[in-house]
């Protein structure tokens, strides 16, 4: 399958152009928020801002939705524009959204309702927006997509699992085009949980090549890929293979390895045996923050690199293990990229991108 378009929203803006600029500009210190029960302490976080979004037509259409759904709809619409696909009514388009935590912020708002007002006086609007697939529904509703609309969750491998299913749907002709997206939202309660299991990067700098100990900075955002079996001549790249829980192609030669390391596991040293001294590695989590669906952002970076034939330097290059990392941005011949992930049980995933 081919990546025809990419849409995204993250802390540095809306659109693949913003992401490309971030890849060129490199790391920037994240914003800070004062969290509930934080005793006035500020925490670094990469938040996506909706207030700066130009053109509010889409947001008006889904004004009752929560931030998770709004980020999803904006990124999905952006992917369609980027892919140059319009007039969806006569096309068989499907949607698969991957999320690790779904509408947890709205779920906790609904729990507030129960605790504050009792079982019989809760808000139906809050409840219906707290359902895991609400974001996908808003995407299909706002973009008038009547194909299959699915939401999946597999923590670290949510995005890879969605891509794997997308490949089968396209191969089997269930859809002509698929919008496969990944979205997660920052929230105080899950930050509380994460802080008790992971180390926050006090300086706001994720060090993806540290591996152990790791540090994280929460992020949020959405990335959508417009996928199709067709190559319209403007594709970013081809997705050659997607593997979850194992990578039978791990010995395959590629030009660049992109790793999902972002401090979301206390020990990420399981990446080390997979990294070759001859293949430069990159990790872009310092640009968008730590998220279990961060692999989607990394895949977007890989797709951009192949399309532009440009290598983007790893934004944070602390390298205590002396591995071969991408240190400079510049033109390069790039035919194949492996995007690698690991989960809490040290299982591996891989997405192979090649020039179309």
């Amino acid at each position: 399958m081919n990546i025809l378009g990419i849409g995204m929203i993250f802390s540095r803006g809306l659109g693949i152009a913003c992401f490309e600029k971030a890849l060129q500009d490199g790391w920037r210190k994240p914003g800070e928020i004062e969290v509930a029960h934080g005793a006035g302490r500020n925490y670094p976080v990469y938040l996506a801002g909706l207030e700066t979004v130009q053109g509010k037509t889409l947001l008006k259409k889904i004004r009752r939705s929560d931030k998770l759904a709004k980020m999803s709809a904006l990124a999905a619409a952006d992917a369609l524009v980027d892919g140059g696909i319009g007039g969806l009514r006569d096309k068989r388009v499907g949607v698969i959204i991957a999320t690790a935590f779904g509408a947890h912020v709205t779920t906790f708002s609904f729990l507030d309702d129960i605790l504050d007002y009792g079982d019989a006086a809760v808000s139906p609007t809050t409840f219906s927006n707290s359902v895991h697939n609400a974001a996908a529904s808003y995407v299909s509703l706002s973009l008038d997509i009547q194909g299959p609309t699915l939401t999946v969750t597999q923590f670290q491998f949510s995005f890879q699992a969605a891509m794997q299913l997308a490949q089968t749907w396209l191969d089997q002709g269930r859809c002509d085009y698929l919008l496969v997206g990944a979205v997660d939202q920052y929230g105080d309660v899950l930050r509380y949980v994460a802080d008790r299991k992971l180390a926050i990067a006090e300086d706001g700098k994720i060090k993806p090549f540290a591996f152990n100990p790791t540090c994280y900075v929460p992020g949020e955002g959405a990335v959508f890929f417009l996928l199709s079996g067709e190559d319209r001549g403007k594709s970013y790249c081809r997705v050659d293979a997607v593997h979850t829980y194992d990578d039978p192609l791990h010995g395959k030669p590629v030009d660049i390895n992109i790793i999902d390391a972002d401090g979301m596991l206390p020990d990420e040293s399981a990446y080390l045996p997979s990294l070759s001294p001859d293949i430069p590695s990159a990790a872009y989590s310092p640009l968008f923050g730590s998220m279990m669906i961060g692999s989607a952002f990394n895949a977007a970076a890989g797709a951009l690199m192949i399309k532009r034939q440009t290598r983007y330097a790893s934004p944070v290059q602390d390298n205590p293990h002396g591995i071969c990392i991408l240190t400079e941005t510049g033109e390069a011949r790039i035919e194949a990229i492996r995007c690698m992930g690991i989960d809490c049980s040290q299982a591996k995933s891989a997405i192979y991108l090649t020039s179309a």
Partner: protein, 392 residues
């Protein structure tokens, strides 16, 4: 792509109607309705529910009821399939749920909200409780694992995703279905929407007043023919087609013209390479809400004609949300194999707005193909076509 029929070599089910296929079918024959007041949590609301009573204690662990229900059904299905040791096969796991995908533990949240601290055990259970991942680890499965969270069609969509994996040869065998516990949070949520019944539900009835929530798990073992042959397993039951389509209309209400349901039925039948005339019965979503039953009845009548044998099993199980598609796929397959379907319990009076009535009595079915449908929050619709090789 493998376009041959995928075998259903094992089935497991647990719900308020019974633990296991035999117990469930016996409850269907007796017309047993095990609905009643909530006992699993304290609530000010009085809507009846369908809880699993006599929960097998060997599976019961604190705060993991959805996972426990899933494991009960998985173990039944594996035993039914004779799949004791899947070593040597690429086994995938695809499960639908709603409750297990959310950290909606009220005690945990209350503690965090009031004190700024909370015991992490509920969060740990949530983080270690991804249905597909846990089942895959337990089976040492080497195939893909996926948890589908598509509201009320989650189970059906999980089975559909499994079918796609098998057709694309990503694996040899898939454990697929759905599971959900009765939980305080959706109980309040559905009540807030005004679609809960203060009596027992009556799907497709003129006087229907809404749904009852339930809980359970339904699981199929789906298998490529060559894998079944390799381990000397056999089955006449097959999974032939899956269709899924969005209404793109409203977050909680079905499209009045049922565009998504219509499209999903057409897709499922097309994949199965059969026509509506080949279908001998439909196990409908049939929640007992005004909107769902009216739209679904209308579309089923249009698609299959007014003579269709149709039922809803939610009068026996309640609406089990993410489990519903799994359970109803199991019931559909079991009905085909047994040659009969139970009365659509709760139904008494035809609704003139619905051009199709469900069966009122135990009804013999002699065909080779049946359909199970699911309609979900968010406007997603899904349909499965299940077959019986060598049937009439």
């Amino acid at each position: 792509m493998n376009d041959e029929a995928i075998l259903i070599t094992g089935m497991g089910a647990i719900s308020a109607a019974g633990n296991g296929i035999a117990e469930t079918l016996a409850a269907f024959e007796r017309g047993a309705r095990n609905g009643g007041p909530v006992s699993l949590f304290r609530t000010a609301l009085t809507y009846p529910v369908f809880e699993v009573k006599r929960f097998p204690q060997e599976y019961a662990r604190e705060g993991q009821r959805t996972l426990d229900l899933a494991l009960i059904a998985v173990d039944q299905a594996l035993k039914d399939a004779g799949l004791i040791d899947p070593f040597g096969f690429r086994v995938g796991v695809c499960m639908g749920t709603t409750v297990a995908s959310q950290l909606n533990d009220l005690a945990f949240y209350r503690s965090y909200r009031e004190q700024g601290t909370a015991p992490l055990a509920p969060a740990d259970r949530f983080l270690k409780g991804n249905l597909a991942a846990v089942i895959a680890q337990r089976l040492k499965a080497r195939g893909p694992a996926l948890t589908v969270v598509n509201a009320c069609s989650s189970g059906t969509d999980a089975i559909g995703a499994a079918l796609s994996w098998l057709r694309s040869d990503l694996c040899d065998i898939v454990i697929a279905g759905g599971a959900d516990e009765l939980n305080h949070v959706p109980y309040c949520g559905f009540a807030s929407l005004g679609i809960m019944n203060d009596g027992l539900c009556s799907p497709f009835d003129r006087d229907r007043k809404g749904l009852n929530l339930g809980e359970g798990a339904g699981v199929l073992v789906l298998e490529q023919k060559r894998a079944a042959k390799k381990r000397n397993a056999a089955s006449h039951l097959t999974l032939l087609g899956y269709g899924s389509s969005s209404d793109a209309y409203h977050l909680t209400a079905p499209h009045p013209e049922g565009v998504g349901l219509k499209a999903s039925l057409q897709a499922a039948l097309a994949e199965a390479q059969i026509t509506p005339d080949d279908i001998c019965f439909v196990n409908a979503h049939g929640t007992g809400t005004k909107d769902n039953d009216q739209v679904e009845g209308k579309i089923l009548a249009e698609a299959f004609g007014p003579g269709l044998a149709m039922l809803s099993t939610k009068g026996y199980t309640g609406h089990t949300l993410g489990a519903a598609g799994g359970l109803e796929a199991v019931f559909t397959a079991a009905g085909l194999r047994a040659g009969w379907i139970p009365p659509s319990i709760g139904f008494e009076n035809p609704d003139t707005a619905i051009p199709l009535s469900p069966v009122r009595e135990k009804t013999a079915v002699g065909g080779r193909y049946a359909v199970s449908t699911s309609l979900a929050f968010g406007g997603n619709n899904a349909a499965l076509v299940i077959g019986l090789e060598g049937g009439a």
